[in-house]
Protein backbone atom coordinates (compact mmCIF):
# COMPACT_ATOMS: atom_id res chain seq x y z
CA UNK A 1 0.00 0.00 0.00
CA UNK A 2 2.96 2.34 0.54
CA UNK A 3 3.58 2.93 -3.20
CA UNK A 4 -0.05 3.91 -3.84
CA UNK A 5 0.17 7.45 -5.42
CA UNK A 6 -2.92 8.92 -3.74
CA UNK A 7 -1.37 10.14 -0.50
CA UNK A 8 -3.80 11.67 2.05
CA UNK A 9 -2.71 15.21 1.10
CA UNK A 10 -3.29 14.63 -2.58
CA UNK A 11 -6.63 13.03 -1.89
CA UNK A 12 -7.67 15.99 0.24
CA UNK A 13 -6.57 18.37 -2.53
CA UNK A 14 -8.63 16.43 -5.08
CA UNK A 15 -11.65 16.54 -2.78
CA UNK A 16 -11.23 20.28 -2.26
CA UNK A 17 -10.97 21.02 -6.00
CA UNK A 18 -14.72 20.86 -6.76
CA UNK A 19 -15.45 22.98 -3.69
CA UNK A 20 -12.91 25.59 -4.82
CA UNK A 21 -14.42 25.64 -8.33
CA UNK A 22 -17.97 25.93 -6.93
CA UNK A 23 -16.80 28.67 -4.56
CA UNK A 24 -15.19 30.60 -7.42
CA UNK A 25 -18.32 30.34 -9.55
CA UNK A 26 -20.40 31.43 -6.54
CA UNK A 27 -18.28 34.53 -5.99
CA UNK A 28 -18.58 35.35 -9.69
CA UNK A 29 -22.38 35.10 -9.66
CA UNK A 30 -22.59 37.04 -6.41
CA UNK A 31 -20.53 39.86 -7.91
CA UNK A 32 -22.73 39.96 -11.01
CA UNK A 33 -25.94 39.98 -8.95
CA UNK A 34 -24.71 42.69 -6.57
CA UNK A 35 -23.53 44.68 -9.63
CA UNK A 36 -27.02 44.40 -11.10
CA UNK A 37 -28.65 45.84 -7.98
CA UNK A 38 -26.04 48.61 -7.74
CA UNK A 39 -26.32 49.36 -11.44
CA UNK A 40 -22.66 48.74 -12.23
CA UNK A 41 -23.44 45.58 -14.20
CA UNK A 42 -26.14 45.26 -16.83
CA UNK A 43 -26.39 41.90 -18.60
CA UNK A 44 -28.43 43.50 -21.40
CA UNK A 45 -25.77 46.10 -22.11
CA UNK A 46 -24.54 45.85 -25.67
CA UNK A 47 -21.27 47.70 -24.96
CA UNK A 48 -21.63 49.90 -27.99
CA UNK A 49 -18.18 51.18 -28.82
CA UNK A 50 -19.37 54.80 -28.75
CA UNK A 51 -17.24 55.81 -25.75
CA UNK A 52 -14.60 58.50 -26.30
CA UNK A 53 -15.63 58.96 -29.89
CA UNK A 54 -17.06 62.10 -31.44
CA UNK A 55 -20.81 61.99 -32.02
CA UNK A 56 -21.75 60.62 -35.47
CA UNK A 57 -22.79 62.93 -38.29
CA UNK A 58 -26.48 63.66 -38.13
CA UNK A 59 -28.96 66.50 -38.50
CA UNK A 60 -32.42 66.00 -37.08
CA UNK A 61 -35.52 68.21 -37.44
CA UNK A 62 -37.46 69.90 -34.64
CA UNK A 63 -39.74 67.98 -32.37
CA UNK A 64 -42.28 70.26 -30.72
CA UNK A 65 -41.99 71.88 -28.21
CA UNK A 66 -38.21 71.92 -28.74
CA UNK A 67 -35.82 72.66 -31.55
CA UNK A 68 -33.85 70.03 -33.47
CA UNK A 69 -30.08 69.77 -33.53
CA UNK A 70 -27.19 68.35 -35.47
CA UNK A 71 -23.75 66.87 -34.85
CA UNK A 72 -22.30 70.35 -35.43
CA UNK A 73 -24.37 71.76 -32.53
CA UNK A 74 -22.96 69.12 -30.17
CA UNK A 75 -19.40 69.51 -31.43
CA UNK A 76 -19.58 73.26 -30.86
CA UNK A 77 -20.45 72.89 -27.17
CA UNK A 78 -18.13 74.11 -24.42
CA UNK A 79 -19.90 72.26 -21.57
CA UNK A 80 -21.27 68.71 -21.32
CA UNK A 81 -24.87 67.80 -22.20
CA UNK A 82 -26.85 64.62 -21.74
CA UNK A 83 -28.38 63.26 -24.96
CA UNK A 84 -31.40 61.07 -24.24
CA UNK A 85 -33.18 58.88 -26.78
CA UNK A 86 -36.83 58.45 -25.79
CA UNK A 87 -40.22 57.54 -27.24
CA UNK A 88 -43.79 58.05 -26.13
CA UNK A 89 -44.44 54.31 -26.55
CA UNK A 90 -41.62 53.32 -24.19
CA UNK A 91 -42.57 52.52 -20.59
CA UNK A 92 -39.07 52.82 -19.01
CA UNK A 93 -38.89 56.29 -20.60
CA UNK A 94 -41.93 57.31 -18.55
CA UNK A 95 -40.23 55.91 -15.46
CA UNK A 96 -37.03 57.92 -15.95
CA UNK A 97 -38.80 61.25 -16.61
CA UNK A 98 -38.98 62.39 -12.95
CA UNK A 99 -35.26 61.68 -12.62
CA UNK A 100 -34.47 63.67 -15.75
CA UNK A 101 -36.70 66.53 -14.61
CA UNK A 102 -34.78 66.68 -11.34
CA UNK A 103 -31.49 66.75 -13.25
CA UNK A 104 -32.27 69.36 -15.91
CA UNK A 105 -31.19 72.37 -13.83
CA UNK A 106 -27.79 70.83 -13.10
CA UNK A 107 -27.05 69.44 -16.55
CA UNK A 108 -28.71 70.38 -19.86
CA UNK A 109 -30.55 67.44 -21.44
CA UNK A 110 -31.17 67.21 -25.16
CA UNK A 111 -33.81 64.73 -26.24
CA UNK A 112 -34.21 62.72 -29.42
CA UNK A 113 -37.66 61.24 -30.06
CA UNK A 114 -37.03 57.79 -31.56
CA UNK A 115 -39.49 56.54 -34.20
CA UNK A 116 -42.36 58.50 -32.76
CA UNK A 117 -45.27 60.42 -34.21
CA UNK A 118 -44.70 64.18 -33.59
CA UNK A 119 -48.04 64.60 -31.80
CA UNK A 120 -47.40 61.57 -29.58
CA UNK A 121 -43.92 62.78 -28.59
CA UNK A 122 -45.35 66.24 -27.85
CA UNK A 123 -48.11 64.75 -25.70
CA UNK A 124 -45.57 62.62 -23.84
CA UNK A 125 -43.37 65.60 -22.98
CA UNK A 126 -46.40 67.66 -21.93
CA UNK A 127 -47.72 64.93 -19.65
CA UNK A 128 -44.41 63.94 -18.06
CA UNK A 129 -42.94 67.45 -17.76
CA UNK A 130 -40.32 68.63 -20.25
CA UNK A 131 -36.72 68.02 -19.10
CA UNK A 132 -35.25 68.79 -22.53
CA UNK A 133 -33.46 71.99 -23.53
CA UNK A 134 -33.79 70.91 -27.17
CA UNK A 135 -35.73 68.08 -28.80
CA UNK A 136 -35.07 66.53 -32.18
CA UNK A 137 -37.06 63.86 -34.01
CA UNK A 138 -35.48 60.73 -35.46
CA UNK A 139 -38.46 59.52 -37.49
CA UNK A 140 -36.86 56.65 -39.39
CA UNK A 141 -34.47 55.64 -36.57
CA UNK A 142 -31.45 55.72 -38.88
CA UNK A 143 -29.56 58.38 -36.91
CA UNK A 144 -30.03 56.15 -33.86
CA UNK A 145 -28.22 53.33 -35.68
CA UNK A 146 -25.27 55.67 -36.28
CA UNK A 147 -25.20 56.33 -32.54
CA UNK A 148 -25.26 52.57 -31.87
CA UNK A 149 -28.68 52.77 -30.23
CA UNK A 150 -30.49 49.44 -29.92
CA UNK A 151 -33.65 50.54 -28.10
CA UNK A 152 -35.07 53.26 -25.90
CA UNK A 153 -34.29 54.76 -23.47
CA UNK A 154 -30.63 55.16 -24.20
CA UNK A 155 -28.52 58.01 -22.89
CA UNK A 156 -25.14 59.54 -23.76
CA UNK A 157 -23.06 62.09 -21.88
CA UNK A 158 -21.51 64.29 -24.56
CA UNK A 159 -18.50 66.29 -23.44
CA UNK A 160 -17.02 69.48 -24.90
CA UNK A 161 -16.21 69.13 -28.57
CA UNK A 162 -19.00 66.58 -29.02
CA UNK A 163 -17.11 63.57 -27.63
CA UNK A 164 -19.22 60.80 -26.07
CA UNK A 165 -17.94 60.30 -22.53
CA UNK A 166 -20.50 57.95 -21.03
CA UNK A 167 -23.34 55.79 -22.27
CA UNK A 168 -26.11 53.64 -20.84
CA UNK A 169 -28.80 51.51 -22.43
CA UNK A 170 -30.88 51.44 -19.25
CA UNK A 171 -33.21 54.02 -17.73
CA UNK A 172 -31.42 56.78 -15.81
CA UNK A 173 -31.60 56.38 -12.02
CA UNK A 174 -30.80 58.68 -9.09
CA UNK A 175 -27.84 56.44 -8.27
CA UNK A 176 -26.38 56.81 -11.78
CA UNK A 177 -26.67 60.58 -11.52
CA UNK A 178 -24.95 60.91 -8.13
CA UNK A 179 -22.37 58.16 -8.64
CA UNK A 180 -21.42 58.56 -12.27
CA UNK A 181 -23.06 61.24 -14.40
CA UNK A 182 -22.60 64.36 -12.23
CA UNK A 183 -19.00 63.61 -11.13
CA UNK A 184 -18.07 63.00 -14.76
CA UNK A 185 -19.99 66.04 -16.04
CA UNK A 186 -18.37 68.27 -13.39
CA UNK A 187 -14.92 67.06 -14.40
CA UNK A 188 -15.70 67.92 -18.03
CA UNK A 189 -16.85 71.47 -17.30
CA UNK A 190 -14.35 74.13 -18.46
Amino acid sequence: MSDQPSSPTRRRLLMAAPLVVAGGVGVGFWRMLSGMTKGSFDPHDIHAPALNRPVPDFALPDQAPGTGFSAADLRGLKAPVLVNYFASWCIPCVAEMPVLNALKDKLPIWGIAYKDKPEHALGFVQRAGNPYARIAADHDGLAAIDWGVSGVPETFLVGPGGVIRWHTASPITEAMITNTIMPLADSLKP
Partner: protein, 159 residues
Protein backbone atom coordinates in the same frame (compact mmCIF):
# COMPACT_ATOMS: atom_id res chain seq x y z
CA UNK B 1 -35.65 47.02 -18.25
CA UNK B 2 -35.68 48.48 -21.72
CA UNK B 3 -38.56 48.82 -24.13
CA UNK B 4 -37.57 47.77 -27.57
CA UNK B 5 -39.54 48.58 -30.67
CA UNK B 6 -40.70 44.97 -30.56
CA UNK B 7 -42.57 45.41 -27.29
CA UNK B 8 -45.45 47.18 -28.98
CA UNK B 9 -48.03 44.49 -29.39
CA UNK B 10 -45.23 42.08 -28.67
CA UNK B 11 -47.50 39.16 -27.86
CA UNK B 12 -49.64 39.61 -30.94
CA UNK B 13 -46.51 39.89 -33.07
CA UNK B 14 -45.08 36.76 -31.49
CA UNK B 15 -48.26 34.79 -32.10
CA UNK B 16 -48.42 36.07 -35.65
CA UNK B 17 -44.78 35.07 -36.14
CA UNK B 18 -45.42 31.57 -34.84
CA UNK B 19 -48.46 31.24 -37.06
CA UNK B 20 -46.84 32.54 -40.21
CA UNK B 21 -43.35 31.20 -39.64
CA UNK B 22 -43.87 28.09 -41.79
CA UNK B 23 -45.30 30.24 -44.58
CA UNK B 24 -42.42 32.70 -44.90
CA UNK B 25 -38.91 31.39 -44.51
CA UNK B 26 -37.38 34.86 -44.15
CA UNK B 27 -38.51 37.80 -42.11
CA UNK B 28 -38.26 40.09 -45.11
CA UNK B 29 -41.97 40.52 -44.70
CA UNK B 30 -42.34 43.18 -47.33
CA UNK B 31 -41.12 42.25 -50.83
CA UNK B 32 -40.42 45.95 -51.48
CA UNK B 33 -37.57 45.63 -48.95
CA UNK B 34 -35.75 43.30 -51.31
CA UNK B 35 -33.17 44.49 -53.78
CA UNK B 36 -34.20 44.19 -57.45
CA UNK B 37 -30.94 42.44 -58.38
CA UNK B 38 -31.19 38.80 -57.15
CA UNK B 39 -27.39 38.48 -56.79
CA UNK B 40 -27.25 41.61 -54.64
CA UNK B 41 -30.25 40.46 -52.61
CA UNK B 42 -28.55 37.13 -52.00
CA UNK B 43 -25.42 38.92 -50.79
CA UNK B 44 -27.48 41.15 -48.50
CA UNK B 45 -29.18 38.07 -47.03
CA UNK B 46 -25.82 36.37 -46.46
CA UNK B 47 -24.50 39.44 -44.64
CA UNK B 48 -27.71 39.85 -42.65
CA UNK B 49 -27.56 36.20 -41.55
CA UNK B 50 -24.27 36.98 -39.79
CA UNK B 51 -25.60 40.05 -37.97
CA UNK B 52 -27.25 39.73 -34.59
CA UNK B 53 -30.60 41.35 -34.03
CA UNK B 54 -29.86 43.50 -30.97
CA UNK B 55 -33.44 43.22 -29.74
CA UNK B 56 -33.90 39.45 -29.94
CA UNK B 57 -30.17 38.84 -29.42
CA UNK B 58 -30.15 35.22 -30.56
CA UNK B 59 -31.65 35.78 -33.96
CA UNK B 60 -30.02 37.21 -37.04
CA UNK B 61 -31.50 40.37 -38.50
CA UNK B 62 -32.69 38.29 -41.45
CA UNK B 63 -34.73 36.07 -39.11
CA UNK B 64 -36.08 38.72 -36.77
CA UNK B 65 -39.18 40.83 -37.29
CA UNK B 66 -38.16 43.46 -34.73
CA UNK B 67 -38.30 47.04 -35.98
CA UNK B 68 -34.58 47.51 -35.40
CA UNK B 69 -33.81 44.36 -37.41
CA UNK B 70 -35.88 45.73 -40.29
CA UNK B 71 -33.98 49.01 -40.13
CA UNK B 72 -30.66 47.18 -40.10
CA UNK B 73 -31.73 45.04 -43.08
CA UNK B 74 -32.58 48.23 -44.89
CA UNK B 75 -29.16 49.71 -44.06
CA UNK B 76 -27.38 46.53 -45.24
CA UNK B 77 -29.26 46.66 -48.56
CA UNK B 78 -28.41 50.33 -49.00
CA UNK B 79 -24.73 49.56 -48.56
CA UNK B 80 -24.89 46.54 -50.89
CA UNK B 81 -26.59 48.66 -53.54
CA UNK B 82 -23.78 51.21 -53.17
CA UNK B 83 -21.38 48.43 -54.13
CA UNK B 84 -19.58 48.04 -50.80
CA UNK B 85 -17.78 44.79 -50.01
CA UNK B 86 -19.02 42.35 -47.34
CA UNK B 87 -16.05 43.30 -45.16
CA UNK B 88 -16.83 47.02 -45.46
CA UNK B 89 -20.44 46.46 -44.40
CA UNK B 90 -19.40 44.22 -41.49
CA UNK B 91 -16.91 46.87 -40.35
CA UNK B 92 -19.61 49.55 -40.58
CA UNK B 93 -21.84 47.53 -38.27
CA UNK B 94 -19.08 46.57 -35.82
CA UNK B 95 -18.02 50.22 -35.68
CA UNK B 96 -21.48 51.10 -34.33
CA UNK B 97 -22.50 48.09 -32.26
CA UNK B 98 -19.21 46.40 -31.41
CA UNK B 99 -18.33 42.76 -32.00
CA UNK B 100 -21.56 41.78 -30.22
CA UNK B 101 -23.44 42.33 -33.48
CA UNK B 102 -21.44 39.55 -35.15
CA UNK B 103 -23.13 36.20 -34.57
CA UNK B 104 -19.76 34.53 -35.14
CA UNK B 105 -17.28 36.14 -32.76
CA UNK B 106 -13.90 37.08 -34.24
CA UNK B 107 -10.70 35.44 -33.03
CA UNK B 108 -9.27 37.96 -30.53
CA UNK B 109 -7.53 37.87 -27.15
CA UNK B 110 -10.94 38.14 -25.48
CA UNK B 111 -12.44 35.22 -27.42
CA UNK B 112 -9.24 33.12 -27.45
CA UNK B 113 -10.49 30.81 -24.70
CA UNK B 114 -13.80 30.35 -26.53
CA UNK B 115 -12.11 29.26 -29.74
CA UNK B 116 -9.37 27.06 -28.29
CA UNK B 117 -11.58 25.43 -25.64
CA UNK B 118 -12.37 22.25 -27.67
CA UNK B 119 -8.67 21.70 -28.35
CA UNK B 120 -7.79 22.56 -24.76
CA UNK B 121 -10.43 20.14 -23.40
CA UNK B 122 -9.09 17.38 -25.68
CA UNK B 123 -5.51 18.02 -24.51
CA UNK B 124 -6.56 17.98 -20.86
CA UNK B 125 -8.47 14.73 -21.46
CA UNK B 126 -5.47 13.11 -23.15
CA UNK B 127 -3.26 14.38 -20.32
CA UNK B 128 -5.47 12.88 -17.62
CA UNK B 129 -5.73 9.56 -19.53
CA UNK B 130 -1.96 9.42 -20.02
CA UNK B 131 -1.29 10.28 -16.37
CA UNK B 132 -3.75 7.61 -15.21
CA UNK B 133 -2.50 4.77 -17.43
CA UNK B 134 1.18 5.62 -17.03
CA UNK B 135 1.12 4.74 -13.33
CA UNK B 136 2.38 1.18 -12.79
CA UNK B 137 -0.20 -1.09 -11.26
CA UNK B 138 0.49 -2.11 -7.71
CA UNK B 139 2.76 -5.22 -7.90
CA UNK B 140 1.06 -8.51 -7.10
CA UNK B 141 1.58 -9.49 -3.45
CA UNK B 142 4.19 -12.23 -2.88
CA UNK B 143 2.77 -15.75 -2.57
CA UNK B 144 1.73 -16.87 0.91
CA UNK B 145 4.34 -18.48 3.05
CA UNK B 146 3.65 -21.89 4.65
CA UNK B 147 2.95 -20.23 7.99
CA UNK B 148 0.40 -17.88 6.41
CA UNK B 149 -1.25 -20.71 4.50
CA UNK B 150 -1.66 -22.66 7.75
CA UNK B 151 -3.23 -19.66 9.48
CA UNK B 152 -5.60 -19.17 6.57
CA UNK B 153 -6.80 -22.77 6.65
CA UNK B 154 -7.23 -22.52 10.44
CA UNK B 155 -9.37 -19.44 10.02
CA UNK B 156 -11.54 -20.90 7.27
CA UNK B 157 -12.04 -24.13 9.21
CA UNK B 158 -13.19 -22.42 12.38
CA UNK B 159 -15.89 -20.57 10.41
Amino acid sequence: MKTHPLRRGGLIALLACLFFAPLVALAVDDPSEMLPDPAQEQRAEAIGAQLRCLVCQNESIEDSSADLARDLRHVVREHVAKGESNQQIMDWMVNRYGNFIRLKPPFTIGTLLLWVMPLLALCIGIGIAWWTFRRPRAPAPPPLSDEERRRLSDLTETR
